[in-house]
């Protein structure tokens, strides 16, 4: 075994950490969150230039990474800095699905994605599907050379900025069947595709997307008809890996801010960290952080394993991060007191990133049940 990052990943980590420390402070971040776009095109372009998006794709797809540890290295730094830009949506989900299923022509889009010129969104979740990856009501009907898409997609993160939406739709089978789900590459300006956008609690934006007889050519289909489900599960595994690393990064910052506050904040004539009631809770936060880091390493190291093994680790890690994340977010707020409840102090943003991640790609309980099911089968 070896627990060191490779030299390349170490360099990527250093570069990214320096850049974000320099360019992504509280004021910049709040300005981005309050902006109409909910992201900064300049920061996006600069990070693409630094190779951050390229690190999330394999060499054969035009990048220089794409493995589990590349993903966790990048996303831990994004989490540490509280970055709200949609790397998860454009690169891991949207880009990852094109890389996994796309034809050579479709894959040409990846160059634009890696260069920072094109945003993507994964329009999969629906108003009633909650976290179930196989529950798809949106329909795809073949009509001559065209395919007609109809349905509604819920909380599609980054939909407004996206040039293309990767839309899931059912070509056959029943509501919960894994078989019969296809993916389509739909240009955002296609007739019949409408969206209502809104800001998210944790920063960034999403939209409710309506597909009202949206017509696309059959060349818009990604991969084989009705066979997209395994690729969706893999994309979710990669996204859960990224999200776990991001939560870890935000937990590090929340813990660091709290540690600093315990040393500097004086009450009753001494630093509040000298009160054992708080000191021991700080110790628990540090223990949880260490464990969470190991859980993220677990998932990163198994991302290329067989799917049963991989998914068992995905579920365990998200469940662990969900519990440890909630503890750290809530304890960090409590030990700070009122100041942590304000928008002006940056802890609040990290607490929101951590807690609201429990609403993407399955929550703590959902991953627990999945872990139970996968472990029973193992």
């Amino acid at each position: 075994m070896n627990f060191e990052l490779t030299e390349e990943r170490q360099m990527l980590q250093d570069t990214l950490r320096r850049f974000l420390a320099d360019r992504y402070g509280l004021e910049t971040r709040n300005k981005i969150i309050d902006s109409e776009e909910g992201l900064s095109p300049e920061i996006w372009a600069e990070l693409a230039e630094l190779g951050v998006i390229g690190a999330l794709f394999t060499e054969e797809d035009g990048g220089f990474g794409g493995k589990g540890f590349d993903i966790t290295t990048v996303f831990e730094e994004l989490g540490r800095a509280g970055v709200v830009e949609p790397f998860l949506d454009t690169a891991i989900l949207g880009g990852g699905l094109i890389a996994a299923l796309g034809s050579d022509t479709q894959k040409e889009l990846l160059e634009e994605v890696i260069g920072g010129a094109l945003h993507l969104a994964f329009a999969h979740g629906e108003p009633r599907s909650r976290y179930e990856l196989n529950q798809v009501e949106t329909t795809a009907k073949v009509s001559g050379d065209e395919i007609v898409l109809s349905g509604r997609k819920a909380v599609v993160v980054n939909a407004e900025a996206a040039g293309y939406l990767v839309v899931s739709a059912r070509e056959s089978g029943g509501l919960m069947d894994e078989d019969g789900i296809s993916l389509f590459l739909v240009p955002a300006d296609t007739a019949g595709l409408t969206m209502v956008g809104y800001p998210l609690m944790q920063g960034g934006r999403a939209a409710e997307v309506t597909l009202d007889d949206v017509k696309v050519p059959s060349s818009a289909r990604l991969g084989e008809a009705g066979k997209a489900y395994p690729a969706i599960v893999t994309a979710a595994a990669r996204a859960n890996t990224a999200l776990s690393a991001e939560i870890l990064g935000s937990m590090e910052t929340a813990t660091g801010l709290t540690k600093e506050y315990l040393v500097t904040r004086q009450q009753f004539g001494r630093p509040i960290g000298t009160f054992q009631a708080l000191a021991h809770r700080m110790s628990d936060m540090l223990i949880e952080l260490e464990m969470a880091r190991s859980a993220v390493i677990n998932i990163a190291g198994r991302l290329e394993s067989d799917t049963a093994e991989r998914d068992r680790y995905v579920a365990a890690t998200r469940n662990y991060l969900g519990r440890a994340g909630r503890l750290i977010a809530e304890e960090a707020i409590q030990m700070h007191g009122g100041i942590a409840m304000t928008k002006e102090y940056e802890l609040a943003h990290f607490a929101k990133r951590i807690v609201m991640s429990d609403h993407r790609l399955g929550d703590t309980d959902w991953h627990l049940e999945r872990f139970i099911a996968l472990s029973a089968a193992a």
Binding site: G125, P127, R128, R130, Y131, E132, Q135, A154, V155, L175, M176, V196, Y198, P199, L200, M201, Q202, A206, E208, Q266, Q267, F268, G269, I272, F275, A277, L278, R326, E330, I333, Q334, G337, G338, A340, M341, T342, K343, E344, A348, H349, A351, K352, V355, M356, D358, H359, R360, D363, T364, D365, W366, L368, E369
Partner: protein, 396 residues
């Protein structure tokens, strides 16, 4: 012992229900369900309705215009109001200052201020915390120096809830810096229109403007605005804090919130069946309900034992700690219940006439979860409460 409500108590509940059905404006109840902020007018509308009914001050003695209800009546009222989604009755004038004036104010102060608190004519806010004085409240630094028939006040208060609407603020100020901290504090009533007062908003993490900083720059306050004796303010402040804590368990609000989680969990589907049948979710829900069932009786038992208007001792601290843990757990379940639809930042998204994103009950859940982290911080943090319990019980 008898855990059943008496026929009189049941009749009282019916009376409250009838009143709420007739008098609670539907638009206010709807706003409580879907929005995270109320306007000044919203609060005042509901205040006036209760005032006209004679129910605005449940814990005040009749001689001051209160309802003088007993603990069980107050519990019933609180519960019915929570289930009906009434706006909150703000505690600053009615639950905090009122009892202090009744106990320590002079006749002129009682005659002038109490009726105006009842009618809602004066909106009061609380000037206790300072940037450097939170849990360690006695270390407060806002100075009041006597000059002739005025005090000159300089300093800063913070976390002033809804101070942006306030006509008056009751303040703890330091009148003697040369004695033990607790012995140099006075209790002062200050008109917010006095020159030298600046109110600056603090925006909370879920985007609401609920608290403020209040700055005092050479603010002239007439000496007749002093409550009780100079330098005895800490005694009055402690008296007020025990009153602040009589309803701190928030049982009615927690019961209504739990009921709403159940309704959401019946409507939400997870993996093809109602979320309420999901084992992990159901287990969490059942545990917090079991906690709440014990808490309801603990609250009634403790509050009944204390005389009307008189606060219990460390049991109040116990109610606060456990009551806030329960409420925050319910808020956590509520945000989980709505799944991905917890993410839209709805206090912004539903501004104006926009349709809420997702089911209408989803809109305020994440905001409420974050906002109610304050419950274990304010009114004496849960750490301070545990300190009080430990000090009284262990004593070393």
């Amino acid at each position: 012992m008898d855990l059943n409500y008496t026929p009189e108590e049941q009749a009282f509940r019916e009376e409250v229900r009838t009143f709420l059905a007739e008098k609670l404006p539907k638009d206010l109840a709807d706003k409580m369900k879907t929005k995270s902020e109320l306007s000044k007018e919203d609060y005042l509308r509901w205040h006036k309705i209760l005032y006209e009914q004679g129910w605005i001050a449940p814990n005040w003695p009749k001689e001051y215009g209160g309802a003088e209800w007993n603990a069980v009546q107050r519990h019933i009222f609180e519960e019915e109001c929570a289930f009906a989604n009434t706006p909150r009755v703000l505690p600053f004038g009615l639950a905090m200052l009122g009892p202090v004036l009744q106990a320590f104010g002079n006749q002129e102060q009682k005659d002038y201020y109490l009726p105006r608190i009842l009618s809602g004519e004066d909106w009061w806010c609380q000037g206790y915390s300072e940037p450097g004085a939170g849990s360690d409240l006695a270390s407060l630094k806002t100075r009041a120096v006597r000059e002739g028939d005025h005090y000159i006040v300089n300093g800063q208060k913070t976390w002033t809830t809804l101070g942006q609407h306030a006509d008056w603020i009751f303040c703890l100020v330091r009148t003697d810096p040369n004695v033990k901290q607790q012995e140099g504090i006075s209790f002062l009533l200050i008109d917010m229109k006095t020159p030298g007062i600046t109110v600056r908003p603090i925006i909370l993490l879920e985007g609401t403007h609920e608290v403020n900083e209040v700055f005092f720059d050479n603010v002239k306050v007439p000496v007749e605005n002093l409550v009780g004796e100079e330098n005895k303010g800490w005694t009055y402040a402690k008296y007020l804090l025990t009153h602040e804590r009589t309803n701190i368990a928030g049982v009615g609000a927690s019961k209504a919130a739990l009921d709403s989680v159940k309704r959401m969990a019946r409507a939400e589907m997870s993996g093809g069946r109602p979320l309420i049948e999901n084992p992990a979710f159901a287990a969490r829900l059942a545990e917090v309900e079991a906690d709440l069932m014990a808490m309801e009786t603990a609250n009634l038992r403790i509050v009944s034992q204390a005389a009307v208007g008189h606060a219990p001792g460390i049991e109040a601290s116990m109610l606060k700690v456990k009551g806030t843990i329960i409420r925050q757990e319910i808020n956590d379940l509520a945000r989980r219940a709505v799944g991905p639809y917890a993410m839209p930042f709805q206090s912004e998204a539903v501004e104006g006439d926009n349709q809420p994103i997702g089911p209408d009950y989803a809109a305020p859940q994440a905001s409420r979860y974050f906002n109610n982290r304050k419950l274990s911080i304010f009114g004496g943090s849960n750490e301070v409460q545990r300190g009080i319990i430990a000090k009284t019980q262990i004593g070393v």
